[in-house]
Symmetry: C2
Subunit: 361 residues, 2 copies
């Protein structure tokens, strides 16, 4: 758990950890937290800078002169092990990109799949992964329309890695983005947090005890679609932000939103849904569940007067039946996430520093 003192000392610094940790890539650069942000802001952003990338959302939204708008996104998947309770690298690769598109309010439509295979990989493993991708694509109602396969020598990969990129269609009335949270908005989470991270850890045999936790890996586009349809068209703007708290967990995603929207977010620890088994595993391992990855959950920041309707819609879907309000957006302290704890105190919740669990997705 991040101590308030430590967090407060990070005066306005988005990326307090120096980029050049011995001037080499370390696992923390892939955490999705501070070090990842730092790498992106110092190396990638200056080179590729453009307004779409700068928006810093889960998918880039591009508008063509002819008027149509697309959401475009990519994710490489390196999860270890390849199979875990509730999912595998294939399901993850499809759902990860589908969800990034859905978080912009887009309708995920087309996917690409790029495979990097290690020499010696059992074909039966590849076949299982592909079948799993097929099922996930069917559920999400997306087509995989382009692919690529590369093979590297033994010891130059770890079984297989999968990149997926996706294109989604964005209707004109949709305006969802990390920069749109407004003071007074309420913060909704679609269900239990931390399941994916703990399920992967369990599959690695690193828990040291028997746990019955399944990854939440799931395509969230139908949930999002129902949320959008549930509010009338003139209220199309009542959903301000959607984000799936993957690497870096709920805490990191909320921090990103607070920074993008220049607002404060206050959450209530009592309201955050965590399964008993996940809480117990985190307790034993010294993890804060707020930082543990999810692959089938979303944060929605919505106008207060639409919250009940949106919650109603969410609870009537497969992946939103445990949705609940966990907090609200405030004006100050800008860019900060605060949490009212179970013992009644308020602490700062910082972005993930360093690496919690490598290769979780």
């Amino acid at each position: 758990m991040t101590e308030p003192e430590e967090a407060i000392s990070l005066q306005g610094a988005v990326c307090p950890i120096p980029l050049g940790h011995n001037q080499k890539i370390v696992l923390g650069h892939g955490s999705g937290g501070k070090m990842s942000h730092d790498l992106i802001s110092r190396l990638f952003m200056p080179a590729f800078d453009n307004p779409i990338l700068r928006a810093g959302n889960d998918a880039g939204v591009s508008e063509h002169t002819s008027g149509f708008r697309l959401a475009i996104s990519t994710d490489s998947h390196v999860v270890s092990p390849l199979f875990f309770p509730g999912g595998d690298i294939g399901k993850l690769a499809v759902c990860g990109t589908v969800n990034d598109l859905a978080m912009m309010g887009a309708v995920p439509t087309w996917l690409t799949a790029g495979f990097i295979l290690e020499e010696g990989l059992e074909l039966s493993i590849l076949e299982r992964v592909i079948q799993s991708m097929r099922l996930a694509a069917e559920e999400a109602n997306v087509q995989i329309i382009a692919g690529d396969t590369k093979v590297v020598q033994r010891g130059k990969a770890d079984g297989l890695y999968i990149n997926t990129a996706g294109v989604g269609i964005l209707q004109p009335e949709i305006a969802i983005g990390g920069e749109k949270a407004k003071p007074g908005d309420v913060v909704i989470i679609s269900g239990y947090i931390g399941d994916h991270g703990i399920a992967v850890l369990s599959a690695r045999g690193e828990l040291g005890f028997e746990a019955n936790i399944e990854s939440d890996t799931a395509p969230l586009n139908h949930l999002v679609s129902r949320m959008i349809k549930g509010v009338s068209i003139q209220d199309g703007t009542s959903i301000h932000v959607l984000r799936d708290p993957t690497r870096g967990g709920l805490a990191t995603s909320l921090n990103e939103i607070a920074q993008q929207s220049n607002v404060a977010i206050l959450i209530d620890e009592n309201q955050i849904p965590i399964r008993t088994e996940v809480a117990a595993a985190c307790e034993m391992l010294g993890f804060d569940p707020l930082y543990v990855a999810n692959e089938g959950k979303l944060i929605a920041i919505v106008r207060r007067d639409s919250a009940d309707q949106i919650l109603y819609e969410m609870r009537h879907t497969k992946y939103g039946d445990n949705a609940r309000i966990i907090g609200e957006v405030r004006e100050t302290p800008q860019t900060r996430v605060l949490m009212r704890t179970t013992i009644g105190t308020t602490r700062i919740v910082d972005i993930l520093a360093g690496e919690l669990l490598p290769r979780i997705c």
Copy 2:
């Protein structure tokens, strides 16, 4: 060089090599030749089957109900070494996807970039690669609008791998595809073949002699754009096929086209442009330059009455100044590529079998 006897014995079989070579992935599955095709047709196609994927082109062409058409493509890049004369993995990653889109006649517009980084990678190397991507994207006039970074432990990658996916806009009058070659068409190549493969081999120190060969890695979209504009709109259909002969080389790409269009392609060995140094390197190594990878060349199959105009346009561009006609399309023998050799005989040119050069792109 493929022997005619061997090729002829492959009766109508696209993929004569059994998929399950010990039921494990071998380097040949990444060659872009027979084994890659086999893996795709037996594992990927049955699972992801849809008309766009089945078309088997460099990029998938998708049409939305509202009428706009997009070309969408992906490529993962695992080239070794990361830097070679004339390019590096970054330039390759941008150009590879730009070219796949351009080969459908689309205007490449948006790219995504997914990085898999090995722990311990020097940041200065990553920085050079990113700068190289920036320059290539500027030249191609594409925006990188979404990215992703993953880090894997030491020994689980080889420095870095890059996936790019791309989206291009397709104008209504464009109808280019591997299935559109027609008897009577002429076959054009945009310049010297085999440069990329030999340059990478040279960078690996595997040539055993000093070679002054640079990779041809280049974005070909401006060349394609000029070719399309060069023929009047009502002749928009005079460019039937465009394809960049990358992995598997000219021979493999021509075979793919002959199969997709159900035609024969006859090429003239005397007309195929090969640099003396590349020919010499191939001679010493026992390689057939027809199978050596290119990363900045295109094959164009066009209506005979437009060929002069198209050649004129090509020769007035940076990457097409050595364009020339190398053959023609015939009705029979269907799905075959034949070559009139320098000594006046005619031999069958088959698709690449097995692996020529691993990790060339």
